[in-house]
């Protein structure tokens, strides 16, 4: 096993308070990407 994720980073990844705000941020960002529209490519 090779440690590739530092203890601090792992703490941030798994801290429920930090991650709660991340959850809100991710939800909005995913929504913007997915519901942000789609269209054709041939007339562009």
């Amino acid at each position: 096993m090779t440690r590739r994720i530092s203890k601090y980073k792992r703490f941030m990844m798994m801290n429920p308070i930090v991650q709660f705000f991340k959850f809100i941020y991710l939800s909005i960002k995913v929504l913007l990407v997915v519901a942000g529209g789609h269209g054709g490519t041939r007339s562009a």
């Binding site: 096993m1 090779t2 440690r3 590739r4 994720i5 941030m12 990844m13 798994m14 801290n15 429920p16 991650q19 709660f20 991340k22 959850f23 941020y25 991710l26 939800s27 960002k29 995913v30 929504l31 913007l32 990407v33 997915v34 519901a35 942000g36 789609h38 269209g39 054709g40 490519t41 041939r42 562009a44």
Partner: protein, 485 residues
């Protein structure tokens, strides 16, 4: 009055039928033909495969919902397509064969004005010798029954590991041209976490085997993404996670034969190799269903409708990888020969792969097939429904709703472990799905910012929230249509 027949009740078929029913008044008929009696939220099969969800948590019966929503439902499978009718039937129709008890084996000509082929893929286990779910210690998570069988086998092994037995686990793709690496990626991380939860991680050697050239290809040629304040390749991110979790990997592997506890594969160097295992989960290749089509006189016109999957408005001209462009990809999913037939989701024939095609030194194609699951399936199904609604209401021949995978974003919220406080998820969004190297030449064909990755507990919560949200939506509960595809 129009009659719209939807073949399939998976993500694409169900989304199309739901939107058609909501937006068309009752004088128009919406018919769903599916051999499956249940709707299943396939992305959560992963959690059935590790015993953290039961099949009943991810499915519900279709018949009561469709009866309530005035959608005609036939539990049957499509057999052949007759887009011009025949000598006895003037209208186009699909020959279907019932599979439900009571009228099993009975056939019916289901006529239509518009046809949506959302039959998805055939899970082509036969393409790999010896690959069959539950046999040769190799499993699948492609359906909830497969996932449940996988968990039953894994649970037994965990008990043996607790007694001190050491085992080898092999997870990945079971064919040189498999797709859906994302599902296997989720499963390997979930299995790894479950082994840690049961305190037996040190008893297992876990290996990823894949037809990808690089880690994190996912059938989409990999991606360059924003990761925090950095820009990172998906291969680097997946490599980081695998190394951190002590998962080794074999890439460029076309699995061609599975025996009891041994997977045989050819690599890009043309070497025939093998990998032993005590438990495997290998995703099969996907193929079309082998449907036949006939014209009014009974002549075989399968070539006009299918090339494996259904032919749509893509550019299928064979050309080298360097000449591929996003313009090759379909925009409306309409069959060019029969404008009243559409094929959203996995049912349409892609013009080519998204990943760079590679052959082994023996000439074997070892390239991931392009993914069209999940969000793209839902989005393309909705736009097909919207175009049909316009054609009906406005007698409009021009299709205004377009959605090329070269101009569409997608999110892959990959579970990396289950648990409200111990879980993890790898959230990746990609825009566009098919890289546009002309528009975004410096960022591997993708728009940074809209293509990003994130790892952490929030990803698990997001995946869980999507599970409940999409099942709510699929059950067509109040305001379901506000939830985007």
């Amino acid at each position: 009055m129009a009659k719209i027949v939807v073949l399939g009740a998976g993500i694409a078929g169900h989304v199309a039928a739901s939107h058609l029913r909501r937006k068309l008044n009752k004088e128009h008929e919406v018919v769903v033909v599916s051999p499956n009696s249940n709707y299943q939220w396939i992305p959560s099969n992963i959690w059935v495969g590790i015993g953290r969800m039961k099949p009943q948590d991810i499915l519900f019966p279709l018949a009561p919902l469709y009866a309530k929503k005035h959608i005609d439902y036939k539990q049957a499978k499509a057999v052949s397509f007759h887009p011009e009718g025949d000598q006895d039937q003037n209208r186009p129709y699909v020959m279907v064969e019932y599979v439900s008890e009571g009228n099993k084996g009975n056939k019916e000509k289901v006529t239509y004005d518009y046809l949506i082929n959302a039959t998805g893929p055939k899970l082509n286990f036969e393409a790999t010798e010896g690959l069959s779910p539950g046999k040769n210690k190799a499993h699948s998570v492609c359906t909830y029954t497969h996932a449940q069988e996988a968990w039953n086998a894994l649970e037994g092994l965990i008990e043996q590991m607790k007694q001190g037995k050491k085992i080898k686990i092999l997870i990945g793709t079971g064919h040189a041209k498999s797709t859906c690496q994302g599902a296997a990626f989720e499963y390997i991380l979930n299995v790894e976490q479950e082994l840690r939860r049961h305190n037996v991680r040190d008893k297992a050697e876990i290996t990823w085997i894949s037809n990808e050239f690089n880690l994190g290809d996912f059938g989409m040629d990999g991606m360059l993404m924003s990761y925090g304040s950095n820009i990172m390749k998906s291969s680097e991110m997946v490599g980081m996670v695998f190394e951190d979790r002590n998962i080794s990997w074999i890439l460029g592997a076309g699995v061609n034969k599975v025996e009891d506890g041994v997977a045989h594969y050819e690599n890009l160097d043309g070497e025939q190799k093998q990998e032993s295992y005590d438990f495997a989960m290998l995703i099969p290749s996907f193929s079309g269903h082998g449907f036949k089509a006939y014209d009014r006189t009974g002549m075989d016109i399968t070539d006009k409708l299918f090339r494996g999957f259904m032919i749509v408005d893509a550019d299928y001209t064979p050309k080298p990888y360097e000449e591929w462009s996003v313009q090759d990809w379909p925009e409306t999913y309409q069959n060019p020969s029969y404008p009243n037939i559409f094929a959203p989701g996995i049912a349409f024939a892609p013009p080519h792969s998204i990943s760079k095609p590679r052959k082994s030194k023996n000439g074997t194609d070892i390239t991931p097939a392009p993914p069209r699951t999940g969000m793209p399936s839902g989005i393309t199904a909705k736009l097909v429904a919207d175009n049909i609604i316009e054609m009906i209401k406005q007698s409009n021949k021009e299709l205004h709703h377009k959605g090329s995978m070269g101009n569409m974003g997608a999110a892959c919220i990959a579970s990396a472990g289950f648990g409200m406080t111990t879980g993890s998820g790898i959230s990746i969004t990609t825009y566009p799905i098919v890289p546009d190297y002309q528009k975004y030449p410096d960022t591997h064909g993708r728009k940074l910012g809209k293509t990003f990755g994130s790892i952490g507990l929030a990803g698990h919560w997001l995946k869980l929230a999507l599970h409940y949200a999409f099942i709510y939506k699929a059950k067509m509960k109040p305001f379901w249509w506000l939830i985007p595809e």
